[in-house]
Symmetry: C2
Amino acid sequence: MNAETFKKKFVTFDDTDKESLENVLSIIEDVKKNSDSALKKYTEQFDGQTVEDFRVPEEKLKRSFENLSDEEKNALILIKDRIADYQQSIKYKDYQDGEFSYVYHPLERIGIYIPGGTALYPSSVLMSAVPAAVAGVKDIVAVTPTFTDENITLAALYIAGVTEVYTAGGAQAVAALAYGTESIKKVDKITGPGNKYVALAKKQVFGDVGIDMIAGPSEILLYVDDTADYTAIAYDVFAQAEHDVNARTFLLAESSNVIEAVQSEIDRLIGEQQRTDVIRESLNNNHYQIIDSRENLLEIINYIAPEHVSIQHREEQVISKNIRYAGAVFIGKYSPEAIGDYAAGPSHVLPTNQTGRFSHGLNVNDFLTSHAVIQLKEGTYNSIADAAKTIAKKEGLYAHYESLNIRTER
Amino acid sequence: MNAETFKKKFVTFDDTDKESLENVLSIIEDVKKNSDSALKKYTEQFDGQTVEDFRVPEEKLKRSFENLSDEEKNALILIKDRIADYQQSIKYKDYQDGEFSYVYHPLERIGIYIPGGTALYPSSVLMSAVPAAVAGVKDIVAVTPTFTDENITLAALYIAGVTEVYTAGGAQAVAALAYGTESIKKVDKITGPGNKYVALAKKQVFGDVGIDMIAGPSEILLYVDDTADYTAIAYDVFAQAEHDVNARTFLLAESSNVIEAVQSEIDRLIGEQQRTDVIRESLNNNHYQIIDSRENLLEIINYIAPEHVSIQHREEQVISKNIRYAGAVFIGKYSPEAIGDYAAGPSHVLPTNQTGRFSHGLNVNDFLTSHAVIQLKEGTYNSIADAAKTIAKKEGLYAHYESLNIRTER
C-alpha cells in the first residue's frame, strides 16, 4: 500500500458532539458560580456518590501505601525513581548569553486529572505527578473520581510527591481546578487524560489555565520483519487492544509472510486472553498493511504521528532516525511498548490522534514556564534603535518612537 | 500597599460572552462544512470585502517590499536578522544519553494570524514568522484581513520566510487553517494574536491543531526608583497606553516622590501625544502604587506575571533574578519595552492576563515538536521488567503482563 491510499483511508477519532459540549459548558458555568455546591451536585449525579469532604486525608493515602505488599511497594518505588531520573536528565536549564538570558521556573500550582471508576492506574499517577515533582512545582493537586477506600492509586499518589488529593472527576473537577471552589484552590495548569467530558472541559478552560493536551484513544504502530518474535508481537497487539475498544493498532511489514505469521499467533492465543472481549472488539480497529517502500512507511508514520511506534526490525536504527512525528518511539525486542507504559522512564502520557504532529508527551518541562530577560548595553541599543524607530513610526506608534528616541538623545 | 490588598483589587480581563462563543462555534461549523464558500461569505459579512482568490500573489508581496524606502527595507532586514540570531541561540538541540534520546523536529505546516484592519504591524509579522523559519518549518502560512493593495505588512511577510499568504481574518480564517478549505490546506498549529473572535476560535480548535496562547490586552509593570529618567518613564507609559484603550500599566515604586515625578511628566507631555485620545482612555487602567517591601513587589509581579516587566532601578539585577513569572523582563535604561517590541530579538508575542504563570512568549521552540526514543539493553530490561509486571497485573492489564513476560522468558 502506498502512503496516499493510506492517508485517504485514515480517519481521526472524534467522539465529541454539540450536546456534550453544551452540557460541559453549563457544568463549567455552574461550578464557576456555585462552587462546591455544584461540585457536590454533579458528583452525586454522575458518580452516584455523596462526598462531604472532597479532600482525601494524607492518612488515608499513607495507609493505602502501607497496606500494599512489599513487592508492590518496591515496584512503585522503582518506577518512581526511573521516571525521576529520566525527567531530571531532560529538564531545561537556564541559558545566558551576553545581553540575554532565558530562564525557567517551576509552575506554582498544578492539577492532575487521574481517571477513576473501576480501573486503577497507579502508573498514570506516577507518569503525571513525578515529572511535576522533578520540575519543582510547589502544589501538586490531584483530582480523581476514585471512591474505594484504600487502593494502589491512592498509594501511588502518596509516593509521587502529590501535595493534595481531591475526590472529584469529570468536567466538574476540571472546572474546580480551573476556577477554584471553597475546597479546591485554583491551579495554573491542568494535565492528565480523561473521558470525553474531561477533554471537552479542558478545551473550554484552556487560556484561563494551561492545558497539556486533549487525549484520545491509545494507538500503536508496529513495524516488524522476520527478525521479530511473532509471539511477542502478538502480545504487543493484545496489550494495545486490551486498553479499550477504541484502541488502534497499525501493524506494518514489508512482507505478507510476516503479517500472516503474527496473525496466526494472534488467532492461536486470543482465546486465552483475560480481557478477550475488549481485545476482540478493539481488533476491529487494527490495520494490517504491507508497505512497499521505506519512503511510504515514513510518510505514513509522520502523517499519523502514532502515540507509540514500535520498531522490531533489522534496520530499526535508520528507520527511527527518520521518524519526525510520534508520541514515543520504541526500538527493539527489549523495548516493548508495555515497558514504556510502566518503567522505562519517559512519561506514558503521550499525544494521540495525529496530535503528535504538534505536541509531545508530558514531561518535566511542561511544568516549567520561562521568560527572556533583556538587558542591552548602550552600544547595542544605539546600533538598533534607528531601525526600531523607523518601524514604530510606520506603525503609527508615536509614543513608542519617543520612548526609543529619548534614550539616544540623552 | 501590600501584596494581598493588591491581589484583591486585581481583576483579570475577560471580554468573552456566550453569544460570541455561539457565533464562533457556528462559523467554525460552517467553514468545516462549506469550506471556501463560507470563508467568502464571512469575509463579505465582517470585512465588507469580496475576495475572489484568497491567495496573495508572491509578486504582490515582492512589490510591497520593493516599494519601501531604503530606510524601511534596511530596518526590516536588521530586525529580521536580530530575531533570527536570538531564536537560533535558544533553539533546543537533540539529547542523547545511553538508552534514551530525545529528539526535536520542526512542525510541517503552521498558520500565523496577522491582525489587519487599518493598523499595520510589520513587527508582529517578523516576531511570529521568523521564529518559525528558524525552527525549519516547511510551510509557513499567514492569514490576514489586510485588504490594501501594497503595504509594509505584506513587505514583512515577503522577507520573513512565509511561504503562503491568504487574505482572510476572524474566526473564519482560524477555522480554515484548522480544518482546511479548497484554497487553504490544513495546518498543524496556529499562532498569533487577534481580536476576541480569533481568541475564541483558537480555543475551540485547540486539540485539533496546536495553539500558542490566548492573547489579551497588553500590559506593563514598571518598577522605578530615582535613578530612572522620569521623562523616559513617562514615554514608556504612553507607549504602553497607545496600544489600545484596554492596555494596562502598573507603575510601582518605593517612594511617592518617584511616582509623583513620573505623574508630573505624564501631565506635562500628554497633550503633545499623537494618539492622545487612546492614551487618555487607556491611562484609566493604570495602577500607580507605593510598594512597601521587596517581598511584596515580587509577590505582585509573580501573581500578575505581567506581559512586560521593566526594571529601571539601582537594584535591578537582584530584583530580576527573583522574578519567576513574566512575559519578558527588561532591565535598565537601554532596554525600554519598545526596543523589545521591535528589535531586541526575543519575540514580542508574549503571554498576558496572568497566563505568563503557565505559558511563555512565542519562540522558535514552539515550532518544534519532540519525542523520546527508547532502546533498552537486555540487562536494563531485565532489571525493571518485574516491577512493570507487578503493576500491570495490579492494573488488570494482563496482555501487558504477557508482553513483558515473554521477553524475559526467551
